[in-house]
């Protein structure tokens, strides 16, 4: 038991230190496809360090809510991280129905950011908040139904048990359903992390940004907390997808951790290739994309419920 919790604790440390590496790896892959060198892999760490050294500027129209939001958002992401298992070992906290808590925590982080954006009173931030809320409302059922289907396939009501069962027999019996769940989770991954078919992390035009426009007024350490929270969000979703997609477990903690990290690398590389290959969807087509992913989840649930 002690070793199990130690491994889970190690996952927290790994996630906190390696999470900023994920976005920079994606941009590195994209740079490779565009024929550029791309920024250094350590650039996000440098950005975070620079932002933390700066002072913060607060608009006089904002209230204390605006100052609390970045820390609260990061806190909810850190708590979410304790529920997510990685690399074959169960999560730090695991109980029946913890996938509902995970979805709730992710929604909480988004809700807090939306509140802070509305608190500024800026029309641009209000626009971004409304888009984020609209897309979140559609990606949440897809995530919830997809996880419910995975629970039904594995017969385990907790994330840790689900991941353990996904490794063993589930892939042999329910391939179509699990593939559907993975497809749906991938769409949610791209939406929630503001990746390309939905949002472009490189755009800096207020009219087209979704996630970034919400954090325009945050500066200095607050922005660093938000950026770090976004990286952790990427890690949480990545751990979910990799955990479901890798049916390989050796039983050795080190080897399993290696497989998990390799899976994360593969996922990040795949997202980089995807972002290089496809264009961003028009804003009016995004709900259609998300309804499609809801359809995937419903179909998966239907396949396993019958």
């Amino acid at each position: 038991m002690a070793t199990v919790t130690f491994a889970a604790f190690l996952h927290l440390v790994f996630a906190a230190t390696l999470a900023p590496l994920l976005p920079s790896l994606i941009s590195r892959v994209k740079a490779f496809f565009a024929g550029r060198t791309g920024p250094s892999l350590l650039q996000p760490y440098r950005d975070l360090a620079r932002l933390l050294r700066k002072g913060a500027v607060f608009s006089p129209t904002t209230t204390s809510l605006f100052r609390l939001a970045p820390a609260a958002g990061l806190a909810s992401m850190l708590v979410a991280l304790t529920v997510v298992p990685a690399g074959g070992s169960p999560a730090l906290v695991s109980f029946p129905g913890d996938f509902l808590v995970l979805v709730g925590l992710l929604a909480l982080a988004r809700f807090i950011l939306i509140l802070a954006a509305l608190d500024t009173g800026s029309s641009f931030e209000g626009m971004g908040a409304s888009r984020e809320a609209a897309f979140g409302a559609l990606s949440e059922p897809a995530l919830l139904l997809g996880l419910a289907a995975a629970v039904r396939v594995s017969g385990e009501p907790s994330l840790s048990g689900m991941m353990a069962a996904a490794s063993a027999g589930a892939w042999a019996t329910a391939v179509p359903a699990l593939l559907l769940v993975l497809g749906s989770l991938l769409a949610v991954f791209l939406t929630e992390n503001a990746r390309i078919p939905v949002d472009d992390p490189n755009t800096h035009l207020e009219l087209t940004m979704i996630h970034e426009v919400m954090v325009l007024d945050h500066s200095g350490p607050d922005l660093a907390l938000i950026e770090f929270g976004a990286a952790l969000r990427l890690w949480v979703f990545g751990a979910l997808i990799v955990g479901l997609a890798t049916p390989l477990r050796t039983g050795l903690p080190l080897a399993d951790a290696g497989i998990f990290l390799a899976g994360m690398l593969a996922l990040v590389g795949f997202v980089g290739v995807l972002e290089s290959a496809i264009a961003r969807l028009r804003l009016v087509r995004v709900p259609q994309f998300l309804v499609g992913s809801i359809a995937f989840s419903v179909l998966a649930l239907v396949l396993v419920l019958r």
Binding site: V175, P176, L180, P287, Q288, V291, G292, I294, A295, V298, L299, V302, L303, R306
Partner: protein, 214 residues
């Protein structure tokens, strides 16, 4: 056997959803053709043990007609009509997708309460066939362009075909071939009709046909 059949059924549902969600007529024709080809393989996948010449012939006829002849006819009509997209359908694409999901759930419910004679080869087959029919009917009433309505008719026929193969697979070969021939003639006539509508009204928008009343 069942995993293959399940995968086939899921792919058929995908093609239906893609048809509901895409606006480009060319890609719609290709998707409908792909759905026809998928269902053409259904008799072989459903009865893996017996590779009877009758089954093979039926599969080949269905694949040849739905995968090659219909797309060719429809693409010819499309070239003549010089229309590329379905603009402003009666029901938007996102709502169409949602309705497609609802149709799937409704047909699952209906299939549970439907007493089908004999034992269906897969528990998914009847609901997927029903939902394909519903999607086809929905495409016919919700789209404006004559070509999309023809596609809706084809999808509807695909649903009936799946239902027939899955439930009444003892139906005589002549009946199956007769149905295929009917569909062929229908698509042929519709292609000609599209051409004439276009020549008369400079558009294949069926709402224009209301002017005939005056």
């Amino acid at each position: 056997m069942t995993p293959w059949l399940d995968t086939l059924m899921v792919l058929v549902v995908f093609t239906s959803l893609k048809l509901l969600g895409s606006s480009r007529l060319g890609s719609c024709i290709r998707t409908a053709a792909f759905q026809g080809v998928l269902l053409g393989f259904l008799p072989i996948v459903a009865h893996p043990g017996s590779l009877a010449p009758r089954l093979l012939f039926m599969s080949a006829a269905a694949i040849g007609l739905k995968g090659i002849v219909f797309p060719w006819l429809l693409f010819r009509a499309l070239r003549g009509a010089r229309v590329r997209r379905e603009v402003e359908p009666f029901v938007g694409y996102t709502s169409s997708l949602l309705i497609g999901v609802l149709a799937l759930i409704a047909s699952l419910w209906a299939a549970r309460h439907l007493r089908v004679p004999g034992r269906p080869i897969s528990p998914l087959l009847v609901p997927v066939a029903l939902s394909t029919m519903l999607v086809g009917l929905f495409l016919i009433i919700s789209r404006k362009k004559a070509l999309s309505q023809v596609l809706g008719y084809l999808v509807f026929e695909n649903g009936i075909y799946a239902f027939g193969v899955g439930v009444a697979y003892e139906a005589p070969l002549l009946v199956e071939l007769g149905v295929l021939l009917d569909v062929f003639v229908a698509v042929f006539v519709m292609g000609i009709a599209i051409f004439h509508i276009r020549r008369e009204f400079d558009s294949i928008d069926t709402t224009r046909l209301e002017t005939l009343r005056y």
